[in-house]
Amino acid sequence: MFPFHGVDFLEFDSLLSDEERLVRQTVREFVDKEVLPGIEEWNREAKFPKHLVPMMAELGFFGANLTGYGCAEMSNVEYGLIMQELERGDSGLRSFVSVQGALVMYPIHAYGSDEQKEKWLPAMQQGTAIGCFGLTEPDFGSNPGGMRTRARKDGDDFILNGEKAWITSGTIADVAVVWARTEEGIRGFLVEKGTPGFTSKDIKGKWSLRASVTSTLALQDVRVPASAMLPCAKGLKAPLSCLTQARYGIGWGAVGAAMACYNEALEYAKTRKQFDDKPIAAHQLIQAKLADMITEITKGQLLALQVGRLKDKGRAEPVHVSMLKRNNVKIALDIARAARDILGANGVADEYPIFRHMCNLESVFTYEGTHNIHTLAIGETVTGIPAYR
């Protein structure tokens, strides 16, 4: 693996404040020192690097753009830069942080009761509690509105039944945000690990996000008190708003993965020699790939920054975030594949990070709204005609 010194073709850094650059530097150093030396092994062994949780907590990565409860109170651009650097390390690690902050702490922060906030937010910020987000079901992915998980009122309690699939951090979570259908529409419940009837199991054999835990959750007559329901999360809008938060981070994260692949391919192409002792970077076909990569990364950075600045002004629409996620994950995946090609046979070995990023990005392409679904979201916005059905 070649050392990484950032990717900045168009004086992108001049658009950042000192603080924004410092935040990026902290995470970049963390990834270089704590993540990259171990990631290929964790990936190979499908092991989540849980030992990094306390350090990430101390540095302030969890719920970094939330206010109060010990959170770092970063701007959305700073938060985005954190995600970029984490995903330059590994999409699985970034996924863990996204879920913890944007899919669990965020809904508790936005829709929870004071009691729920006090109980969970400080602990999750400090990494002493881990969360997961259960929306997807075996039969409902792109269309979560069709979910079958039910919460039935029983006196002061609710009784939950159903199954959730593809849940990041499921088996290591202390608390699950479970979305279920009730008589008054879709609601969110905080279901604690160990609640009778609530079980989880890891999904084995993933070729992607191997350093992240992905699980199924089963809920069989799980009784929770009414106080476990998020009081202000009403309807499908609530989980979708969480996804907008996480997806925004993914739009930046994908740029990080793309940068890692580009950096690797560029340095490799400059040193690898074929035909007449010439570096492969001297060939036009290789240069064309590198030129495409840096151009797309640069556009992706600017897109991420603009959405981030809009978000900081409270003006980012979900469809803006759709465009960010759709574009940046797609270009990252294309870049990973092109980088893989440039490394030849070495591109398939885990001595280099590219194949891992490439496989990871397949999941990122699918989760948090597939590429297709975001295409439809943008299409609906520009035409006014929904085309999901």
């Binding site: 050392p3 010194h5 000192d18 603080e19 410092l22 530097q25 902290t26 540095l59």
Partner: protein
Amino acid sequence: MKIVVCLKQVPARDSLLRLNSAGTWIQETDISFEVNEPDIYALEEALRLKESQGGEVVVCSLGPARAQQAIKEALAKGADRALHLDDPAFANLDSFGIARAMAKALDAEKPDLIVTGLQSDDFGAAQTGVILAELMGLPHSTIIMAIEVQGSAIKVKRELEAGFFQFIEMSLPALLTIQSGINKPRYATLKGIMAAKNKPLKKLGMADLGLSAADLAPRQKFTRVYVPEKRSKTEFFEGGGKDVAAKLVDKLKNEARVL
């Protein structure tokens, strides 16, 4: 204990360097900058001393506006306040000029201890700290590997050549130049970065320090900076084996200087 850390912002390691048009320094417009590496260790030592002894850590940096990034990094890691010596007249100072400006700023601070990095990654002169100590009339010691506080004095471990060390007891106030790699520098936490926004950062120009351009006039200047020139030369020796061997040894010894 009041500790001052002198910290310099230098071009990032592994930057793609290009020379300026005059060929007297590098072009600074398209590279990124970072805190001079030994200064990071100096800062870490200062923060640890503050944690064990109490007191205050003040960062002092001379440099253009961009140096604020380095200063903010130090504040984010835990320094309490900062002095930024910034003036158009400070643009091309040598080690002496930098030390002189700093001495003026730090005389007023009356620190118990000043730490600097051993040398800067860009100039590599290892002079600023030493000259600063002389100008302020402080005892100093260089290439420090460890600091132990003993009441109102300190005992330091100094690196010598060939794996030898020297232990020195010094009275305070004093100045130390710190070797790289002697501790594990902390990260700037995200909360630290936020907190740094509200820490005092005082800007001082030439007039504030009561100095004139003549006081700072460089005593040395760069006449030419150049990229090491690569040359490859092949030479064939004619003659018998014995002669050729002797010639080869001579060349290797006296020209290539590898024997």
